[in-house]
């Protein structure tokens, strides 16, 4: 492992629903400025920028960064589906490890209403191999493709372990409860398990309130070296204890929906992070994980080894995923309630965890949190797991 990488500034805008947001460059500007102010530096100290977004023409990253300053630094546009934000973070960390002193990672997204779909239907679908698996295992339906994939994984899990429908809904109930304390979240209204189950069915076992909404938003983080932090008199900064990125292995394309949506990919990624950091799942205090659908949050508990395989249901009903339990997962409300602007999500997770480790999470503060874990996953696919610490 190279140099220690600190996260000295974070910022984000309140997430909004499609049609009700500002332009992407405006949202990104606000997030970057917040992060810079949070770090207590000036923009001209930033040496490189990694800008993540999924939907937009090329060089939206420059448009967003230029709004803060035309300093002529390298700007790299990053696109890695739902894990775009944390991929920008991954590159920023690598840049610091490679010798840079201060780097910006920013993610933003201006989404359309409705479920995700292909923008470029005149060429080969990048998810073709994944779709083929689904096709073999459960066929096509009229539901949104992502819901079919993650919902299908939920079906497979239910079949294997006999999980009740309510268990998935319970995750969403928790997400809403957490989000009700988060002023940056899109959905702050709590919902009961009954209401969640009673919402329109999207793809059994997923109902509408178990699917993350299309969202617009932006978030940013400033990363720096120890020396840079010292120069700016930043004491006890949050730092990245370990980080890994994985992509699909052959197991993703066996006839399993669970594996196709990235279970093994996430499991390998987490394993690398635990090994690199020398910290096991049992030591983690707070987690932001990729709950694009309730089914994926459940699967991720097991992939991150928060519980044993097949025991997620018990884990949930024992309350081990919320305040008072063994872990607090998605204190921000997660993708389900805070929202999921694809490019911004990975950096919004980072923002939440930095606040948590600094004790700045206000009403949703996890007590005495010193170790935090981030899991961000995109189909296609890529998974980034990051462990943060504050000593």
């Amino acid at each position: 492992m190279g140099r220690k990488v600190n996260v000295i500034g974070v910022g984000m805008v309140k997430f909004a629903k499609p049609g009700a947001s500002e332009e992407y460059d405006v949202m990104a500007h606000k997030a970057i400025v917040s992060a810079i102010q949070d770090a207590g530096i000036t923009y001209d100290e930033v040496e490189q920028a990694f800008a993540g977004y999924v939907y937009g023409d090329s060089t939206c990253g420059q448009k967003a960064v230029y709004s803060v300053g035309l300093t002529g630094i390298p700007v790299v546009n990053v696109n890695n589906n739902c894990s775009t934000g944390s991929t920008a973070l991954f590159l920023a960390r690598q840049a610091i490890e490679a010798g840079a002193e201060c780097v910006l990672a920013v993610g933003f997204e201006k989404m359309e209403k409705g479920a995700l779909g292909n923008k470029f239907s005149d060429r080969v679908n990048p998810l073709e191999k994944h779709v083929e698996v689904m096709n073999r295992v459960q066929g096509f339906n009229q539901a949104p493709p992502a819901a079919q994939m993650f919902g299908g994984a939920g079906r497979e899990y239910r079949w294997k372990y006999g999980t009740r429908r309510e268990t998935f809904a319970k995750i969403s109930e928790k997400a809403r409860k957490h989000a009700s304390k988060n002023p940056y979240a899109l959905f702050t209204q709590p919902l009961s398990v009954e209401e969640i189950l009673a919402s329109d069915e999207v793809f059994d076992p997923l109902t509408r309130f178990q699917c993350c909404p299309p969202t617009c938003g932006a978030a940013a983080a400033i990363l720096c070296s120890d020396e840079f932090a010292r120069r700016h008199n930043i004491s006890r900064p949050v730092y990245i204890a370990a980080q890994a990125m994985t992509t699909d292995s052959p197991s993703s394309f066996e006839d399993s929906m669970i594996k196709m949506v990235g279970y093994d990919m996430a499991k390998r990624c987490a394993q690398v992070v635990y090994e690199k950091s020398g910290v096991g799942p049992e030591d983690v205090d707070v987690i932001e994980l990729h709950d694009c659908f309730t089914t994926n949050e459940l699967l991720t508990y097991e992939a991150l080894q928060l519980c044993k395989e097949g025991e997620a249901e018990k884990f949930i009903w024992d309350g081990d995923n919320t305040y008072g339990g063994r872990f607090v997962t998605n204190p921000s409300g997660g993708l389900l309630s805070k929202g999921h602007p694809l490019g911004a999500t990975g950096l919004a997770q980072c923002t939440e965890l930095v606040w948590q480790l600094r004790g700045q999470a206000e009403q949703r503060q996890v007590e005495d949190a010193t170790i935090a874990l981030q899991h961000n996953l995109g189909l296609g696919g890529a998974c980034v797991v990051t462990m943060y610490r504050r000593d």
Binding site: S121, D122, F140, Q142, E156
Partner: protein, 874 residues
Amino acid sequence: MSEQLRFDGRVAIVTGAGNGLGRSHALLLASRGAKVVVNDLGGSHTGSGRSSEAADRVVAEIKAAGGKAVANYDSVEDGAKIVQTALDTWKRVDIVINNAGILRDTSFRKMTPEDWELIYRVHVNGAFRVTHAAWPYMQEAGYGRILFTASAAGIYGNFGQANYSMAKLGLVGFANTLAIEGAKKNIRVNTIAPIAGSRMTETVLPKELVDALKPEYVSPLVAWLVHESCEETGGLFEVGGGFMAKLRWERTKGRTWRLGAPITPEKVRADFAQITDFANATHPSDINAALEPVMENVNAPPSKGGNEFIDVDAALGWQMPEITSTHDERDMALYALGVGAAKDPLDARELPLVYELHGDGFKALPTYAVNPVIAGVLKLSAEGRNAPGLNYGLDRILHGEQYTEVFRPFPAKATLKHKGRIKDIFDKGKHALVISAIDTFDAETGERIAYNEITTFVRGAGGWGGDRGPNTDVPVPDRAPDVVVTEKTSDNQALLYRLSGDWNPLHADPEFAQAFGFPRPILHGLCTFGFVGRQAIRAFAPNADPRYFKCIRVRFADSVFPGETLQTEMWKESDTRVLIRTKVLEREKVVINNAFVEFYKEIPRGETKRAPAPAPARAATTAPSAPAGPSSAAIFQVIGAYVAKHPELVKSIHNVYHFKLKNPASEWTLDLKNGAGSVTAGAPAKADCVLELEDSDWVAIATGKADANKLYFGKKLKISGNVMASQKLDFLRKIDPAEAAALVGTAGATPPGTGTPASSTPAEPAREPQAPAIFRALQERLAANPKLAAEVNAVVLFKVTAPDGVWTVDLKEAPGVKSGAVGTPTTTFTISDEDLLTLVKDPQSARWLYQHGQLRVDGDISVAHRLGFLKQLV
């Protein structure tokens, strides 16, 4: 001969075994190896006295023959002692034959309470005591055979035996429940109603008959029923004099009243013949089967109500017997004259309606389409073949509204078939509307020719609080009409019109008309209707050509007398639609309102009749004529029109689809990428997504009769290129039927994806639902093998769809199948009738069905792993 049925090692108790039947049973079982407790109190046949003599004699007889037996002299009311004798002697009890009995015959008036109670005590209480004492040993041993002795007197009644009959039939009910309770532990319980000459029957049968009816004729059945290889249980048998037969319950089909409307004694009286009619009887064999009609009715949609005139539940959906009619140019010409055509014989526009040799060809007036229908309906009515539940006289009814539509130029000569049904019944408060819908087909080709809706206004028959129905008002615009036609009807117009088939004397017989309160015969409403249709065609159809005519709707507001002048005002609402109102000038009365006529933009082609095969070599491979319905070309036409109107599809879909259809082969391009989008025949230069399928399957998908996903997985639909792009074809479902019809201007074209409107296509022959048979078979399987349940240990609720039905399968406490939702299920399966059959054929398919969303599982899903009990049920 098969091997002898042996009872070696078995211990049997036979009560009342000192004489008659009991003795015969005991001797037979003992002769075949059973160890027998010979019980007899030694009293008289009326229950007085006691001695050990009778039992001892039979025991001695058995022992002399080399068998094993022990005597017991206790009363059956001390049943535990009898059982104890068996346990003390041989430490087990396998068989109990409840045979002991006495008589206290007397006519009911003279019967004392002692007569009644003694009979009860010996027969019912005695059988209870003995059986109850043996039961726990049998349960623990997991084996038992019990026999009860009933009597024909109990089943059918017999003079002077009220007490005995009560007791004997009581035993039948007793045995029925024991059969159920004992099923799991291999305890079989049966009942015989023997007839034999014995001390007991000496009092009721002549001496010669008593001698002929030997007990030995009864015992073989008893021996078989208590043998270990006999699985029969819960049976009731008549036996004696060489005759053996099994009885069962028979139940009439009965009469079911939908819940929600009052059920009165008068209704019961009215339908009592139906309640007691054994035609189509059933034979319920258990309480679930018995409750089936009740549960079905409880779970059925509630009554739509009605009153003494109209029973909506009974009438709605009734299918009329098929009507056939024939007509030719002569009938068409006569009809045209009847509705005032060619009053000016030099009028070139109307002459083709009545002159078959006209240079432009004879043209049929399409409003005729209602005539054979009305004539047929009246004929059915005259023959008493009316819809059930419509109990009003002709004096109450008026022809309220008429809608007639043709799907192609009406043929001048044809044989037609008409298939009708009661489509709707509406409660208009004081009055009621009954709407009959009739589809007309060419008898030869099956092509759908016309559709009629007859709205019958039933005076004073409303008011049950039912559905009021839609508003069918068609108000005329608030401006001067575009065309006004004034025509005087002839004084003999009705006499001329009636020759087209409406023979109601109201239109011809002055006295009859007066009896109905009219000063003189009135004109047929449908004659006025024909006038209006003809006037609209003449005024608005291109070249007054009736082949452009599509449909007409009118409401009959008042009567017309022959000779009166009709003034028809017409407003052109669009190129294809005219609004109409007709008045009688003399009386200034509106006689037709809320009326319109619609036209086709182009003359619809209809289906060409198949030419006789020109004897080609390959004639045999020619496909049979397509059933009436849209062609794939018509469907693409609709899609093309829709695409033209929705250019935004190009932005949202942005794909080029290539359809390759087979049988017959055709290729189509649906371009939703370039320009404003288009549908063209032939292959595209470059497609994003290629769909290959049978022409008939494409029509089925587009008309909502087949599911694209199923065809895809059934390998009947092949998709290549960008597979995900095929999903975007979902927009086809959004095409509104009305919009589609308007776009294409042909009613024959059906919008894709929406299914045909209910009124426009004859119902497909329905697939026979499988679920009822499957669950009946499951019930039988569970009854025969209750152990199956233990492997599942759950209560499973099956919600079956298409067609809907609900069954509760108890595989836990009391294994069995109940119709409807009963209790709290462990697991609920929601599955279509068709997929249920798949599941039964191969329970392993559960996972596939579940993962594909075709089996929905609520509650404990692990039950889905244990569906072996369903295997090969049908």
